[in-house]
Subunit: 219 residues, 2 copies
DNA sequence: TGGTTAAATATTGTATACTTTTTTTGCGCA
DNA sequence: TGCGCAAAAAAAGTATACAATATTTAACCA
């Protein structure tokens, strides 16, 4: 793809995810152009894409601001994800191929094997295989629109900032849930796959809240 | 909003909906600029937005094409709508205000009163009030993300091209369903509202298919 | 004749200058 | 002092020229 637009998109996006560009902050095209070392034209293009991805908001008179969110947004996203991923898993149960099932098992086993004696796992190994596992199911659901919705939802800055590392017990449960989802998909059982996936996401929501509560307590 | 971008967006979009710009057709920025009587810059901005709205697709090397779709896409969209609108109605049951209920009843009654002695209704009256009815429920669901998803889904060109005018029997059922949804919302009954709305959308899907079958038969 | 490459052409990407719109600043008057 | 209006400044919108890239065409060689 085009150089300058990608450069601008990546730079601004990472600035938002890292917090360098604070929520609510007004983004001026010229400032961003300087920051990204490109002209205003690719910055404008990048801002349009960031707007579609909900990283920035266009308010009043075409002024662009970093999207801001509340705790409610996090619950909102989890709720929507639970429904959409459940739905995707259900559809996947009816459409998944043998090849996709093999790939899914591969990612699942990579996570299982990554668990150490202490019951924990390297964060990168988990994140990468977990991500691949879920995306394969989106693909298997055979709805480009559904996949696009989930993609946008999962890549929300508020989600990317709240990556939580699982404790031993929660990790074990998550693995067990993946195993169950695999089982449901193998049997082509739509309702089971849907329920197992929904449960999986809602569990993740609980883990997030526990972690958030601990952080507050530690302060 | 800005003049030229809106002009370009509206012109290109209506061209796609009307079929003047055929599915799969390669859209060249200069041609569009001439068509819309603006320069390439606002055309580019408009194309970014149309891309986010799935009206056009960016392929291989940044070339933009009118999105093409199949019969499967229509079913896909109906299925997603059934789920999302059902979910929205369920959430709305828990959040809707008295004021919103009053507005909903207003739109509902406008449709009821619009039905003539032959059991039919003026298409514009129905479309406008039906649209307002559904959007009010999206708002009442209190999730900007969910509303945005539904908005994009409903405004798909393939949906806008397949507006079906209801026959007397289907119109009567649709009105009855709206009445039921209102009842469920008034009672704050999440499960009921969800089920009633899901049913309403799936009925619309059947109506669409019947109409499509008739058109084929008439050829 | 068929395929490969290079030149020409078409199309998109980028920068910049200029225009329009919006916001801010500051001055005058009540 | 506080309000309102006007002028100035800032920011976004638009057009255009030029650069880079991709696609097509044509020619040459095997």
């Amino acid at each position: 793809m085009s150089k300058a637009i990608d450069k601008a998109y990546a730079r601004i996006r990472s600035g938002i995810v890292s917090g360098e560009l604070a929520p609510g902050q007004h983004l001026k095209e010229e400032e961003l152009a300087e920051l990204c070392d490109v002209s205003r034209t690719p910055v404008r293009d990048a801002l349009r894409q960031l707007e579609a991805d909900y990283f920035v908001e266009r308010r009043d008179n075409q002024r662009v601001f970093v999207a801001s969110w509340t705790e409610d947004d996090i619950d909102d996203i989890f709720e929507l994800r639970a429904m959409l991923e459940g739905f995707a898993a259900g559809r996947a149960a009816e459409h998944i191929t043998q090849g996709q099932l093999i790939q899914l098992r591969h990612h699942h086993e990579a996570i299982v094997k990554g668990v150490g004696a202490n019951g924990l796992i390297d964060s990168d190994v988990f994140l990468e295989n977990n991500r691949a596992f879920h995306r394969l199911i989106w693909d298997a659901a055979r709805s480009a629109r559904l996949a696009a919705m989930l993609q946008r939802l999962v890549e929300q800055p508020v989600v990317m900032r709240t990556l939580v590392t699982y404790g031993a017990k929660d990790l074990a449960r998550s693995i067990s849930q993946h195993d169950e989802i695999l089982d449901a998909l193998s049997h082509g059982d739509r309702a089971w796959a849907n329920a197992a996936m929904t449960s999986h996401i809602l569990h993740a929501q609980r883990v997030y809240h526990s972690a958030a509560a601990e952080q507050v307590a530690a302060q």
